[in-house]
Amino acid sequence: MIIDWYTIIFQIINFLVIVFLLRRFLYGPIIKAMDDREQKIVEREETAVSSKEKAEQEAEEYRRKSDELEEQQEEILDKAAQEAEEEKKELLDKARSEVEETRKRWVEALEREKESFVAELRRRIGAQACSIARRCLEDLADARLEELIWKLFLQKLAKLPAGEAEELQKALQAEDGKAELVSAFKTPDGQIEELKKSLTEALPGLEEEPAVKAKTDQSLVCGIELQAGGYRVAWNIDSYLEDLEDELLRDLEQAKPADPGEEVPGSDE
């Protein structure tokens, strides 16, 4: 007999038992383990996704911050550049005005120096001219220059115009006849007497003889001056020297270099 019903029933029971056993020991635990793992993987993925999102958010935040910082930096740089430009302009203006002032001061100093030089030149030329004239007169005319000047002075006094003579007389009277004779040389007493005499001759309205006091002043260079109160009669080489000075000044003015800061408009046409 191929089919043994006893065995069949036994095998059915065996099969049901093995189904139960495998369900208990194989499928249940294995599927549970796989599901657990899947669950954990899903959880891990979710965590990864959330942390990725978080990281992206943070990255975004940092990007934004760095953008802001850059913007701020740019602003600061712009401001600094602007300030530097202003500072530069200010400094340039200041430097320009300082240069201008220095130049002005220098020009003034130059002017002063020129003037003092001219004055000195005048003084020296006067002194030199006097000494040259004196020596020439001594050598050629056998007469002292002082004497010639004296004579010239007396002549001038004698030929004093009427109006001026009157004024001199008034001045003398206001000073009680006191007058002062200023000369570059020493005046001998005889000459004072001579002056008194010519004064009384020139001023007939004078009631008494004037009292003349002699005084030496080297700054007059070469000349004589009679002072009475506010009035003065004089002869000196100043007028010649002034002519000379004028001429010299003109020459110097022409020789003066053109001012670089003051260009003539249209000069480059």
């Binding site: 191929i2 089919i3 043994d4 019903w5 006893y6 065995t7 069949i8 029933i9 036994f10 095998q11 059915i12 065996n14 099969f15 049901l16 038992v17 093995i18 189904v19 056993l21 495998l22 369900r23 020991f25 194989l26 499928y27 635990p29 294995i30 599927i31 549970k32 383990a33 796989m34 657990d36 793992r37 954990k40």
Partner: protein
């Protein structure tokens, strides 16, 4: 030489007897239960898996995938039944390489027992899924007159299932036995290797057919339900 292991009585006490089929079935059962228990008592759900756990997971997952493909349904409820069919038959057949072992599947009693289990499982799953009335109504499809043919079809496929497995396993055993008498060396080894392949294929076919029968009973119902929805 004994061809039918049912007739090889190991132990008998009155009507109670233990033949080779039952003995080796027990052997396979203990092997499976103990192996599963040893592996699954220390499962890890994360980190590196042990090799045995990995093997069992691949096996269970593969069976699940096959069930899902055949039935187009959630494999959960069918897994213990269909999976056990496959594992039991496969292990019974593979152990044939052990000398002195007689596969229980080479006994028609065993294959008939398994076929009867499928025969019972089809209505059980069908009724569990769709209720007894809906299930019984299937036998009247498409008309009332088809009822005898439906019942015959149900019975004949159970018979075919049993005989197919029996025939294949029996033939393997018989061929090896015959060849041993003709060419005792080398050639039987090749045949035995072929027998291993056949054994696995038969296990697969048996499980898949069982699944197809169960699924077809449910699918008919599902199609009706879908039509009703439309």
């Amino acid at each position: 030489m004994t061809i039918n292991p049912d007739e090889l009585i190991i132990f008998q006490l009155g009507w109670f007897k233990i033949n080779a089929t039952i003995l080796f079935t027990w052997f396979v059962m203990i092997f499976l239960a103990l192996g599963s228990w040893l592996v699954t008592r220390k499962l890890s759900s994360e980190g590196p898996l042990s090799r045995w756990q990995n093997l069992l997971e691949v096996l269970v997952n593969g069976i699940k995938g096959q069930i899902r493909e055949v039935s187009r349904q959630d494999p959960g409820p069918y897994l213990p039944f269909v999976g056990t069919l496959f594992i039991f038959i496969a292990v019974s057949n593979i152990l044939a390489i052990v000398p002195g072992y007689i596969p229980p599947t080479s006994s028609l009693s065993t294959t008939a027992a398994l076929a009867i289990c499928v025969f019972i499982a089809v209505p059980v799953f069908g009724i569990a899924n769709q209720g007894i009335l809906d299930y019984l109504r299937q036998y009247l499809q498409p008309t009332f007159f088809m009822l005898p043919f439906n019942i015959i079809g149900e019975l004949s496929r159970t018979l075919a299932l049993a005989v197919r497995l029996y025939g294949n396993m029996m033939s393997g055993t018989i061929i090896v036995a015959i060849l041993l008498t003709i060419t005792p060396l080398i050639f039987p080894v090749v045949m035995q290797a072929l027998g291993l392949l056949t054994g696995l294929i038969q296990a697969y076919i048996f499980a898949i057919l069982a699944m197809v029968y169960i699924a077809s009973a449910n699918q008919a119902h599902q199609e009706i339900a879908k039509k009703g929805e439309r």
